[in-house]
């Protein structure tokens, strides 16, 4: 089911959680709502489910206004961050809940319920846990049961609030791959909330980056990653070295560091920020125009990648550097040496007035 939220605003007291947000969620896609905590992503998800009512704006399901529909009539599957499994019911009864509470007319028979719940438990590969209590399950298992419970009512849209937030790193990765496979098998429109950019890039067909109650960028993971629309998105999607200052004669003066890259000519006389990813620096041993001199403070090797922390010679600014470990032999950065860094790829953002 396609969903559209239109000019939604929601405030909690003085806090503006959603500020005139308009977004489209196309049918059948797996969409990530990505942003730091407090950016309004969970509020947006809950608004779609009907668990929060917006101060203004509309939620459209398949082009129809669903704003006045009660949460119980919206036919959404919602997986809560802490799963919210019914603690006094067995796993089986948890999954069966949505079917058992239906009015008599539409309630399936006991045999049908058993079959359906059994199928769902098989789908999440936890059929053998049917008689357990939720408290006897691990976090990853609870997560999958919560998903099975949400799927039992055959929702038109699946909403997941920080689905992997409470899990440890290894389980998180496994479940992520599993959820992607599941979505390929059952192409229900799915929206999930996350603050983990890697998770969003890895899993989603489309990413909506949010900040302070508004949408910063919408696009495919490739688009968002390769071409961030704002410096916030750039920052949020990975570590970044930032140089801010005034452009003069096609060169940037950033607190003592002089930076000259070709595109700066377009920003003559403006205040800009040049952002460089740690792995987008060229590393040199000799000084030259446009290179930033920096002293290596610390070198840490992470398998194929080595990270280094440096401080700029000119003003002591902290810089982050990443390069393939295999390269090390060539340049050999070690603590104390001075390197000359040349921005290879970068992104320039004109400062908002």
């Amino acid at each position: 089911m396609s969903i559209r939220v239109e000019t939604i605003t929601k405030t909690f007291g003085q806090f503006r959680a959603l500020d005139n947000v308009t977004v489209d969620f196309p049918e059948g896609e797996l969409v990530a709502l990505l942003g730091p905590s407090g950016c309004g992503k969970t509020t947006l998800l809950r608004t779609i489910a009907g668990l929060e009512s917006p101060d203004s704006g509309r939620v459209m399901f398949k082009g129809e206004d669903a704003s006045t529909k009660h949460a119980r009539e919206r036919n959404v599957g919602f997986v809560f961050q802490h799963y919210a499994l019914f603690r006094h019911m067995s796993v089986f009864e948890n999954v069966a809940f949505g079917l058992r509470i239906r009015p008599r007319r539409t309630r399936p028979g006991e045999a049908e319920i058993r079959k359906k719940v059994g199928d769902l438990l098989d789908l999440v590969q936890l059929g053998w846990l049917a008689d357990r209590a939720p408290s006897q399950l691990s976090g990853g298992q609870r997560q999958r049961i919560a998903l099975a419970r949400a799927l039992a009512v055959e929702p038109q849209v699946l909403l997941l609030d920080e689905p992997f937030g409470a899990l440890d790193a290894k389980v998180r990765k496994e479940l992520r791959a599993w959820l992607r496979q599941l979505h390929d098998k059952l192409p229900i429109s799915t929206i999930f909330v996350t603050h983990d950019q890697e998770e969003a890039l890895d899993l989603a067909d489309r990413i909506i980056v949010m900040n302070k109650g508004h949408v910063e960028q919408v696009g495919s993971p490739e688009d968002v990653h390769r071409d961030p629309a704002t410096s916030f998105v750039y920052d949020f999607l990975g570590s970044s070295n930032e140089f801010a200052g005034l452009v003069n004669n096609a060169a940037l003066q950033a607190e003592g560091i002089a930076l000259s890259v070709p595109e700066l000519a377009n920003y003559e006389g403006k205040c800009v920020r040049v952002c460089v990813r740690p792995h987008h620096f060229g590393i040199h041993c000799v000084e030259a125009a446009g290179r930033i001199a920096a002293r290596v403070e610390r070198v840490v090797e992470f398998g194929a990648v080595t990270r280094a922390e440096l401080s700029a010679v000119a003003n002591g600014k902290r810089l982050e550097l990443e390069f393939p470990t295999a390269l090390e032999g060539k340049v050999k950065p070690s603590a104390g040496t001075v390197l000359y860094l040349e921005p290879g790829q970068y992104k320039i953002f004109a400062n908002q007035p």
């Binding site: 489910a49 009907g50 668990l51 949460a71 119980r72 009539e73 919206r74 036919n75 959404v76 599957g77 919602f78 809560f80 802490h82 919210a84 499994l85 019914f86 603690r87 006094h88 019911m89 809940f97 949505g98 509470i101 239906r102 408290s135 006897q136 399950l137 691990s138 976090g139 298992q141 419970r149 949400a150 039992a152 009512v153």
Partner: protein, 304 residues
């Protein structure tokens, strides 16, 4: 290392550890003080009640309970409890629901008000009703005109009992429901459950043991209440005497065996209450202490 297994039985982990162990003398002094207090102030009086009740023999005991005034007192006590407990359950759940699931201004005032019956002396609680409903009270004239008797009659006793027992269920449920949060109710809601279905299938089972615990305490207090009931009762034998009031009258008339016989009924009730309470508490604990999947107590290793 021969002593290990046997000596370790009944000791906590921190006692087995030299680095955290206190001197045994400390343990025995603390234990001794606790036990002595328990024996002198709790167990001895309880025993005394039963010993005194049966001092003059079993037949006197039965006769004291079978006496019409005693029967009437027992009936009245049960009546008061039969009103107080269900009302308490309804008010308690409603108040706890309101406080734990909603945000509104004046919430702290409400929480404080719920505790009022605990902080006010029962005598004052009784006097409030006399002032409001008594012959000289605010509604005294109106009530008299309509021939309704509240003070010195059964309704007054029920009202006073409801007042003093009001906090029990609410007090028990508020922290429980606050700890459980709203997630499960919201989950039921999006799965399509109606408000009533959510309450019956999700909320109520989750608070069941806590509710039972509150009901038991409420019932015990309802049957045992003396002060407030004494003020509004008027002590009319066979009509407005509850068990505690009846016991006092018997005692003042030097009918010790009869007084203790009725008292033993109340004491018995207290014991049963404690028993059910312990079970309820254990069930609630077992539920709240969600055993973690990966949490395994370190095994006690014993070498011989």
């Amino acid at each position: 290392m021969r002593e290990t297994a046997n000596a370790q039985r009944g000791r906590t982990r921190h006692e087995r550890n030299d680095a955290t162990r206190d001197a045994p003398v400390v343990k025995w002094i603390v234990l001794g003080l606790g036990l002595a207090f328990f024996l002198v102030f709790l167990l001895l009086p309880l025993l005394a009640v039963f010993v005194e009740a049966f001092r003059r023999g079993f037949s006197v005991y039965i006769a004291a309970l079978a006496e019409p005034d005693a029967q009437s007192a027992i009936r009245l006590t049960l009546t008061a409890a039969a009103f107080a407990v269900p009302l308490n359950v309804v008010f308690g759940i409603a108040a706890a629901w309101l406080i734990s699931k909603f945000e509104f201004t004046g919430k702290t005032v409400l929480v404080t008000l719920i505790d009022l019956p605990f902080s006010v002396s029962p005598v004052v609680a009784g006097l409030i009703y006399v002032l409001v409903f008594g012959a000289q009270g605010w509604f005294g004239g109106w009530l008299k005109d309509h021939d309704i008797k509240i003070i010195f009659a059964v309704p007054g006793i029920v009202l006073a009992t409801v007042f003093v027992t009001f906090p029990f269920v609410a007090r028990e449920l508020i922290p429980l429901m606050q700890a459980q949060g709203r997630d499960e109710e919201e989950a039921a809601l999006v799965l399509g459950a109606s408000g009533l279905q959510t309450f019956l299938r999700v909320t109520l089972p989750n608070i069941f043991w806590g509710l039972l615990y509150g009901v038991i305490l409420c019932n015990a207090r309802a049957m045992g209440e003396f002060g407030a009931v004494s003020v509004v009762s008027g002590h009319i034998r066979g009509q407005t005497n509850t068990m505690p009031l009846h016991i006092e009258i018997l005692y003042n008339e030097y009918q010790f065996a009869a007084a203790f016989a009725v008292a033993s009924l109340l004491a018995l009730l207290a014991l049963v209450t404690l028993l059910i309470k312990t079970v309820a508490e254990r069930r609630q604990d077992a539920r709240d202490r969600e055993p973690q999947f990966n949490h395994v107590e370190p095994a006690v290793t014993s070498s011989s």
